[in-house]
Amino acid sequence: MSIAASLTSGELTVKSPVRRKLFGDLARTRLSGAILIALLLLLWEVSAARGWIVSDNWPRFSAVLVAAYRGLLSGELAEILGSTLYRMLAGYAAGCILGVLFGLVLGSNRVLDWIIRPLIEIQRTLPSPAIIPPLILFLGVDDTLKIFIIMLAVFPPVFVNTYGGVRGLDETLLLTAKTFGLSRFDTLRKIVLPATLPAMTAGMRIALSLALIMAVIGEMISGASGVGNYLMSMQYAMRADSMYAAVICLAASGYILNRVFLRLERAALHWHHSMQAE
């Protein structure tokens, strides 16, 4: 933050005349951004209300909000959203556990690393929607499939970051552990895990948004349930307001999940951040 400030503040004192100071202060805060969003939403509302854009697919913004409110209140949308989030979290948890396990094992065992990592690299290069059609053949279109593909998408970032964390471990720490005669398990628990935790959570943070994306993708392709399926059927049913309402609810859930994650991460890593700040 301070860097950007130092980048511009010098020029500002040279450039901006006094009479523009009031406007400048307003423009430099996020308030201007909030006003921009409000204006865009107003434009949406007015363009639909006044018929500037005449289309069944361009509902008023207020109609979308009403649809979201009704959907959540009646439980229809809430239930669909809940089922999506449930699968997302289940797949996320499974992917995180696997990613951490593989990262720890491959990071510390050379032979297993050489054998297994090429396979993981190949899996990573395949764009995830492409795995869904064959998996439908095996797993059907139920929860198992959706949780499984979320797990597949969550695994790589968690694995890569954990692996990198283990490989980047300070040698001295390990030697010290050995000097003190720590058992393998104790070394893992007291040295390796805390030292790689920042890298792990970095991977998990990336994976969180991927998990929501994959949850929606899986539901769109396989149908049957969830917000992804709801979006598709609202599109076919030409109920644009419900469609946009679902998108807004999804975005809000993603935002909230990310916020919760950051809060948890900060709580888990407060010692790390305080160490870095010194």
């Binding site: 951004g33 921009l36 050489w114 297994i116 395949l126 392709i221 979006l231 999804l250």
Partner: protein
């Protein structure tokens, strides 16, 4: 030398898995109509490759991807630089970015289909939209992370604003920008395949889902193999560009 040994090991392990797959199929442990053996998929793959029928879908998919990706990269770097260098623009645009960013982009496909149909415009827009944010965010962070001493030096030497951006800020934030572009590339590939699956009559994504629905399992796996190869090649190409562009960055 250890690098060579590692790669050899990797190749061996991939071959080992293929062999295991083949044996599992031969032993009758899986339903062959769901999971054919590699030796059954290979002829299907060869047929697609030899007849040249892979060229049109591949070209379509890659074309959509590259156009959308290029738009996203140019717009993302430009916006990131502007927002990073001007506090006015940062205040103006940052809230909007924060509002649009958490929307899972696949969820916008139905809305885009409604407005743009199922043609090229929809796919390019979706790829561009999905690929924009990683580039934008990383560029912004890169610009904000530029060493203040460098900027002060530039000012001391009387560099113009444009010169400062071109000679100091851009090179210093290039590693971050490229990291963003790498994330964007795989995101763009995901979106183009998904868009083709949901709303298209051509392209690799459409073919894979269509073949699955008509139970032509062997060509489906062949196309998935082709897609994996595409992902791999794109990755390698990107790494080569990265090595050229930021040779000073340690791997």
């Amino acid at each position: 030398m250890p690098e060579l040994g590692r790669k050899g090991f990797g190749l061996l392990s991939i071959l080992g898995v293929l062999l295991l797959w083949e044996l599992v199929c031969r032993a009758g442990l899986v339903n062959l109509s769901l999971l054919p053996s590699p030796s059954q998929i290979a002829p299907a793959l060869w047929k697609i490759l030899a007849s040249g029928s892979f060229l049109v879908p591949l070209g379509q998919t890659l074309g959509m991807l590259l156009i959308g990706y290029t738009i996203a990269c140019v717009a993302g770097v430009a916006l990131g630089l502007l927002m990073g260098c001007s506090e006015y623009l940062y205040g103006l645009l940052e809230p909007l970015v924060e509002v649009i960013r958490p929307i899972p982009k696949p969820a916008l496909i139905p809305a885009m289909v409604v407005f743009l149909g199922i043609g090229a415009g929809m796919k390019i827009t979706m790829v561009a939209l999905a690929a924009l944010f990683p580039v934008l965010i990383n560029t912004l962070q890169g610009v904000r992370g530029v060493d203040p001493v460098l900027l002060a030096t530039a000012r001391t030497l009387g560099c113009s604003r444009f010169e400062t951006i071109r000679k100091i800020i851009l090179p210093a934030s290039l590693p971050m920008i490229l990291t963003g572009m790498r994330v964007s590339l795989s995101m763009g590939l995901v979106l183009v395949i998904l868009a083709e699956m949901l709303a298209a009559e051509s392209g690799i994504g459409f073919l894979i889902l269509d073949l699955q629905r008509s139970f032509q399992v062997r060509p489906m796996y062949a196309w998935i193999a082709i897609l994996a190869a595409v992902g791999l090649v794109l990755n390698i190409l990107f790494e080569m560009v990265e090595d050229r562009a930021v040779p000073w960055r340690a791997k």
